[in-house]
Amino acid sequence: MQAFDTAQLPRDPSSVRFEPGPTEDKLILSMGPQHPSTHGVLRILLELDGEYIVRAEPVLGYIHRMHEWMAEQKTYFQFMPNMGRVDYLHAMAWNWAYAGAVERLAGIEVPERGEHIRVAVTELNRISSHLLWWGAYLLDLGAFTPIMYAFDDREILLDILQAVTGSRLTYSYFTFGGVYNDVPDDFASRCLAFTKHLRSRLPMYRDLVTDNVILRGRCEGIGEMDVDLARRYGATGPVLRGSGAPVDTRRAEPYSVYGKFDFRIPAYSQGDAMARYMVRMDELETSCDIIDQAVSNLPDGPCSAKAPKTLKPPKGEACYAVEGARGKILVHVRSDGGPKPYRVKLRAPGFSNLSVFCELARGTLLADAVSILGSLDLVIPEIDR
């Protein structure tokens, strides 16, 4: 092999910091920012011993957009469309977290109908996020077909959401005090038809993928994490529930009308990739249950409270936690009484979930790292914000 002078290559600050370890014969591998299984522009520096991972360090910031700065430059209303872009897969939950925080600050009450619509569209959006995750995770594991079946089902759902919100991905449907517009008349019946359809498809999902011996081999016992590790890293959502703690913001600090609904919070105690997988599959059913309850007795009345056209919340601060598809979304807004927020802090669940990856990946095979990464369900724009 020809000698190649690596000194000629442009210096890469991230890998300069990632010095080779004390032992020799290790391979430093840069996975990403363009890699099929990093789902966006995430880069992971790996130190490999053969195919075993000695160290892993994610390098973030490739699509950092400084949303928190933008929030300080815009009025409360104007920042709303940004929220759909933070996590494009569960835009509704981010909409809700921001709207909720501002509503708490300004003391705006949301009418009952608005709350029900919010619950229904957020849960629909959660299903669409989980379906996409399911397909993409299997793509990571080398199965090409499930994503098409998932998209087939997701399409019905997106049609419903399009009829309500006018868009299919980056919704900015929430306003302070309710939702942007009322739902069409056939919304409830379409939702019920969809949940029925999805429930009928779940056995197929199970037979094709969940029971598959190859998938189980790839997921069982991989990336094990106990509750304490998850807690110390701040991992939430399906990742925490996969470690055995049935913790869900919808139940723990019930916001909106979630307290009225009866739903099961799935939790699996193995703490491995399979447990996280199973939690998400069960959550599809949970979301279906919630949607059924939310739309089957949709209250009459206005969908939105009258909010002032220029919102100036009194000085103070408010947090609002929402259970997103990836975990606990927390938006903290500080107001100085002016038309623009003084400080907005966005707590992205994926950020904390990904930070566990360094711990989980150590000592596993490269293929396991892909499996772990997929099981954390990352959306890079949310992590980078």
């Binding site: 973030l60 950092h64 807690r231 939430t236 600090e253 927390l330 500080r334 100085d336 802090k345 707590r347």
Partner: protein
């Protein structure tokens, strides 16, 4: 009202908050040097670290740690104030390894140095970025008294209950008294 373990954290002041109005139940202000001690107490109590937030105020950078127990509406915030000219405080990544990235993010946006942090480099910003984007201009900065409702200020001893608007001088006086106590 205020749980017993708060006393062990070495609080400068603690103020109960209304969850329905703010999403938080308790705010504990500690001295910057004592955050690790406070976090050790909370870790033993089983709190989950949600995030680390910094804000740029007139009085200095305020670091806010959001924590909550796994179950229930019990968000607790720990606050610490550090001066603009010496923005540093000890890292809590030894207690909560998840704080590592959150602290790096604060370093990115505010230039706050976390003493003892294993890897304090830019996380989200490019390596060659100059400055810290969320640091406000002097004019735009507001003091804590301008940002917090009166009830909180009273609880924290930053304002008199009767005073409609606390005078800036009074705030200063309280602040200096606080540091003298330490």
């Amino acid at each position: 009202m205020i749980p017993a373990f708060v006393a062990k954290m070495g609080p400068v002041c603690s103020a109960p908050m209304d969850h329905a109005k703010t999403g938080m139940t308790l705010s504990v202000t500690v001295e910057a040097a004592k955050v690790v001690q406070a976090m050790e107490v909370l870790d033993a109590e089983g709190y989950l670290l949600e995030d680390v937030m910094a804000s740029d105020l007139q009085d200095g950078f305020e670091i806010t740690y959001h924590l909550s127990l796994l179950d229930g509406a019990n968000r607790l915030v720990v606050r610490a104030m550090i001066p603009h000219d010496a923005p540093s405080l000890p890292t809590i990544s030894g207690v909560y390894p998840g704080a590592d990235w959150h602290e790096r993010e604060c370093f990115d946006f505010y230039g706050i140095r976390f003493e003892g942090h294993p890897n304090l480099h830019y996380l989200l910003l490019p390596e060659d970025f100059e400055g810290h984007p969320l640091v406000k201009a002097d004019k735009a900065r507001k003091s804590l008294a301008d940002l917090m409702p009166l009830g909180y200020l009273v609880d924290c001893g930053l304002a008199e209950p009767e005073a409609e608007k606390p005078k800036p001088a009074a705030v200063k006086a309280v602040k200096t008294a606080k540091t003298e106590d330490a």
